[in-house]
């Protein structure tokens, strides 16, 4: 497989049959105040070996979406829509079939590597348990060989195979988690903020490993993060999520160079680099997902909000330059009512509102 991330390979990958195809996915949690619509109509495709970065603020539904795809939602959560994995809808699978898919075809990497390994089990036992669950009749030596091969790719020496989780550092434990998620070569992996709990040097290392995934495993990756820099480094495509919806998606180069949605623009402006002279932030806070604002959910915080934004839901349209976007600024013109393009008079957001 080719290693470079030129647009041609990405385009070639997209042309193939997608591994995961999500259509109008919804996830909501019941509360006493009403349903929290954490994911509210999300659609995307993921080609084999492709990495999709999912970015957004805390509480926008990124993690819920990731867990929903894995079928790991807490009791009381409901999900709707369709997620086709190799043509099968994983939302309608039986419990048993869903267990069989997890670990073998769908993998997950979590945010907190320190607490994700059973403290009473050796690393070897974690691998034995996982492999035996999905592939019967393998001897201990065969399991060992397979585990050591993945561990080697993650830079964990074979001498540590029999160690316990507490004997590893945070970065090593995250690499162990990745190895454990990949040992059965799943076609699709969700990585939920895999570097958030780690320091920058280890973060770079993990990003490098994730970057190598497609080369070593041909794995499709949904990389959930709030770090735009990681997306730029490790992803082919990016989906920007706000208040339960994907507001803009496309190739990383295209979306980051020419952001169409004001939220994407603000998000990119908020990142810190060496040339940053002042901190940029988006005033206000993400909306209440029990009772989201009418029209575009971003309009109360949007610097370029128009009258139409407060009354009518934006339409999912083709982005200029490829991809999708949901914003009245982009169009479609013919659906904006007369006078809808007047700037919206917003109440001033005070500092107190933001807290």
């Amino acid at each position: 497989m080719t290693m470079d991330l030129s647009d041609e390979t990405v385009a070639a990958a997209s042309a193939r049959e997608p591994v995961i195809s999500a259509r109008d996915v919804r996830v909501w949690y019941g509360t006493t105040r009403g349903a929290i619509r954490a994911v509210d109509g999300v659609s995307f495709d993921l080609a084999p070996g492709e990495t999709l970065g999912l970015v957004g603020e805390s509480g926008c539904g990124k993690s819920t979406l990731g867990r929903g795809l894995m079928g790991l939602l807490p009791e009381g959560a409901k999900r709707d829509g369709e997620v086709l994995f190799r043509g099968r809808d994983i939302f309608t699978l039986s419990r048993k079939a869903s267990y069989q898919l997890r670990g073998r075809e769908l993998g997950m990497i979590f945010q907190e590597p320190l607490t994700r390994l059973n403290p009473l089990m050796r690393i070897s036992q974690h691998f034995e348990e996982t492999i035996k669950q999905h592939e019967h009749g393998l001897s201990k030596d065969e399991i060992r060989d397979r585990a050591l091969e993945v561990l080697r790719l993650m830079g964990i020496p074979p001498t540590r195979y029999k160690s316990y989780p507490h004997e590893f550092s945070g970065g090593m434990r995250q690499r162990l988690m990745i190895a454990l998620a990949l040992v059965l070569r799943p076609a699709f992996v969700v990585a939920d903020e895999p570097t958030t709990a780690l320091d920058v040097l280890v973060e770079a290392q993990i990003v490098q490993i994730l970057n190598d995934l497609r080369r070593n495993f041909q794995t499709s990756l949904l990389l959930i993060t709030h770090n735009v820099g990681i997306v730029a480094e490790a992803c082919d495509r990016v989906a920007v999520m706000y208040a339960g919806r994907i507001v803009e998606q496309g190739t990383v180069a295209e979306v980051f160079k020419h952001p169409q949605h004001p939220y994407t623009r603000e998000l990119l402006r908020s990142t810190i680099s060496l040339t940053t002279t002042g901190l940029n932030f988006i005033p206000g806070a993400p909306p209440d997902l029990v009772d989201p604002p009418d029209g575009c959910r971003f309009h109360p915080r949007c610097p370029s909000a128009m009258n139409v934004c407060a009354s009518k839901n934006p339409v999912d349209i083709e982005r200029p330059g490829g991809g999708r976007v949901e914003c009245w600024l982009v169009g479609p013109e013919d659906q904006i009512p007369p006078g809808g393009k007047q700037p919206l008079k917003q109440e001033e957001l005070t500092v107190a509102d933001e807290a």
């Binding site: 073998r104 089990m121 996982t130 316990y164």
Partner: protein, 342 residues
Amino acid sequence: MSRAGSGSLPRYILQRILLVIPMIWVILTVVFVLLRVAPGDPVSAALGSKLNAQALQQRREALGFNRPLIAQYWDYLSSVAHLDFGTTFRDNQPVLRVVRDNGGATLTLTAAAFVIALVVGIPLGLLAGRYRDSAPDVVIRLFGIVSYAAPVFFVGFLLQLYVAERLGLPTSGDASPITVFEVKPKTHILLLDALLSGNGTAIQDVLKHLVLPATTLGLLICGIFIRLVRVNMLQTMQADYVEAAEARGIARGKVTWRHGFRNALVPVITVVGLQFALLLGGAVLTEPTFNWPGIGYKLVFYINNRDYGAVQGIITIFALAVVLISVLIDIVNALIDPRVRF
């Protein structure tokens, strides 16, 4: 980072045993001081009404109670070091023999109570934890609170009153006189002796006698197990590694057992060790209720007779037993949980 860090078990055990020495010293000192701050001297308290002044003085001198406290303290420590726990004043017997003759009954009772508590408490706790807020959970929780809160002697009386007759169970002593007469004492543990003798009626008789006292004492700590196992099960089933295991598609039963239950038991084992002390205390209350010829029963007898020598000796042995058990528990804990070994 090296493999040596993988928890050297022998070293941990050695450390743990060495730490016992200062612990025992503190306990011995506390026992010594507690019994000396009580007013009146031990000899006249125990025998004052029976002997004349001269004879009392003789006993005092013979037992060393006329010597300075520090010398008595040293005598006490060094005799304990030689496993000599003194003699009783009242019947002039070595405490060690009292403990040997009665300890077996207490051991049998506490062990049986412990087994009952574990066999009843852990599965109930697991059930309640696994099916949280269901009807069984509520009933089990209520049972746990009541069984722990009810005084031992009260539960004992209730069982004697309402259960004993219906099931044809004896309410007093650890065996019928005929059994005691027939079974030859070898191990000084009646149950073992009966088993060794192979006498079917004797074994049955001993077991029948054991049921009510062991249930009474077992219920006391059963409640603790239920609550503890339940809470720990709830916590571990929400642990990150449980979700991670589910994300790897590990079957539900295996996740519950290997990831949930095993981790839930770690804190339980520690508490089990502490419960042993409670069990000995409970035995002191249970034994008189059932006329169970154990050390608890004897201890109450000696306390009522103000026999300081016996009380000091028996308490010392109780304390040593608790220390020993706690060391054992630590070692078992280290075997299960590798993190402890550091």
